[in-house]
Amino acid sequence: MITRANIFPTITGVLLLVLLPFIFQSPYHIQILTQLLIWAILFTGLDIAVGHAGLVSVAHGALFGLGAYVTGILTVDVGWGFWSTLPVAILVGALVGLGIGLLTLRMEGHYFVIATLGIGLLITIVIRNWTELTHGELGLSPVPKPISFESIPLNPSLTMYYLMAIVSFVCVAGSYLLMRTSTGRRLRAIRDNSALAAAVGIDVSRTRLVAFLISAGMAALAGSFQASYLSYIEPSIASYEVGFTALMAIIIGGRATVAGPFMGAAIFVVLPEILRSADEFRIITLGLILILVVLFAPDGLAGLSKIAFGKIANLFSGKPTNPNRNSSNVLLDRKDAS
């Protein structure tokens, strides 16, 4: 599946993943990078629903938290090892995703967003208040690390970083490969024009369900690693802000691209660090970036950079750019009010 077109970005990406810890050597920076990778997994998962299938979900924050809690409860209270909880977390996430998908199957536009918001909120409330199971605000700790660090000669944070680098690479590659199958093709067709997609024989509901299920599973997987990375989890890990943050990251980073989730994650991890000394301005800045992106760069930063790269490339080749080419702003069509 590696073609001439994608070999160069792939090598660049892998090199970046491998070499970044050598550029930012302090354990603090490496921890930030690890967090970035975990977010990127969540965002990549959500992007399958939002970017590829056009299903704008805000429930993924709750699904992320669900994954974290499955791992947290099974390791802390039941005593399982991390790796045996991972498949359970993914399965629970996917099943809940399937449930959400079935409930919202026929909803479009605003209704879908609000329905996922409501269902996500319900999951959050249950996590916060089912104290017998989740310990509520007290939280759960310590969630064990995936690897016993004694056996590996690297320092613990670097080991965790490389583990997350491998996992995020697998997730991104998996999502990329899935989109290179007929499933991805059908999803794009549905996102572009669902009536036409049905007319050429694509089972719109089933394809959307499959996408939502995979996307939910990946969000839960990211949550599972997040629990282990933080070692202590409490209900805010599943709050609706996480869902909105993920959605924002994809919109800002750019939908249906490989780089978009990473760019979004970079903004959401790096920005708070830059603004650490003036934390109260952090959310204003985020909000402003969001509004500006929505108003002026509806294809996100990845879209912007694509256009910029296209322009630079065309400076050399002399071809004019076609402004319509990169537009993927077809999440959902807005119907005329009349």
């Binding site: 007929s182 499933t183 059908r186 024009n193 024989g201 319509n324």
Partner: protein, 252 residues
């Protein structure tokens, strides 16, 4: 013995008391071009939407290839062998022409293998190029639908319907937005589809096109079928002329 491919029986659809399609029964023969015409508001589009699966009928039934289809979901009608186009050619706006055809053909491979079928199979690409050639857009596979003329968009829409391997093709207003010269080219193109052994049902109000294209024409007015015959007889039918020029039927 003639073989019926599509038939309707007392097909009716009303919207809040108004019968848009009223007790329409007809049968389409294998390998014919069956035209449906009528003035604005006659119920053509509603009839088309009933057959294509956009609307359920209020009464009556539709059968195709021996199956009851009037409650069948759209994609299953496609699997049965019914391809369709839309009024105002529908496109996948961010797909290139090549991708559009590949996407349209993506659902005919079913089962798990169909879901996981890689997008860059040589055989699929070969098929796409053949269809591209057939619809006269060879060499344009990297363009976007918005870069095509109306006629080319219409041909692409028909191409996307054809790549699903239909035996029955439903065309909704294929001449919409075309200028006279383009209508003639479209006519030649639709005739070339017949050679592939595909039965065609077409709705259009460009009478010149319909008279030339159709083997039989059904005329609708106010939701009812008022005539069904070969084009020559239709043209001289007094009721038809009246329906078109706004005179009450039978007033002469």
């Amino acid at each position: 013995m003639t073989e019926w491919i599509l038939s309707t029986e007392n097909l009716s659809r009303s919207f809040g008391g108004l019968a848009a399609v009223d007790q329409v029964s007809f049968q389409v023969k294998k390998d014919e071009v069956f035209g449906i015409v009528g003035p604005n508001g006659a119920g053509k589009s509603t009839l088309f939407n009933l057959i294509a699966g956009v609307l359920p009928p209020s009464h009556g039934k539709i059968e195709a290839f021996g199956h009851r289809i009037d409650r069948m979901p759209t994609q299953k009608r496609c699997w049965l062998g019914i391809g369709r186009t839309f009024q105002a050619a529908q496109m996948f706006p961010t797909h290139t022409i090549g991708e559009s055809l590949l996407s349209a053909g993506s659902a005919k491979h079913r089962g798990v293998a169909g879901w996981l079928r890689p997008v860059d199979l040589k055989s699929d690409r070969q098929e796409m190029l053949e269809f591209l050639d057939f619809i006269g857009l060879a060499g344009m596979e990297d363009l976007l639908p918005s870069e095509l003329t109306n006629l080319q968009q219409q041909k692409l829409a028909i191409g996307m319907a054809l790549i699903t391997d239909p035996q029955l093709l439903l065309l909704d207003e294929p001449s919409g937005g075309l200028i006279e010269a383009e209508v003639l080219e479209l006519l030649a193109f639709i005739k070339s589809i017949r050679v592939r052994g595909i039965t065609i049902v077409v709705i259009d109000h460009k009478m010149r096109l319909m008279m030339n294209l159709s083997d039989r024409i059904m005329v609708m007015s106010a939701g009812k079928m008022i005539a069904l015959d070969v084009p020559k007889k239709i043209a001289s039918d007094v009721n038809v002329q009246n329906a078109y020029l706004g005179r009450p039927a039978g007033s002469d």
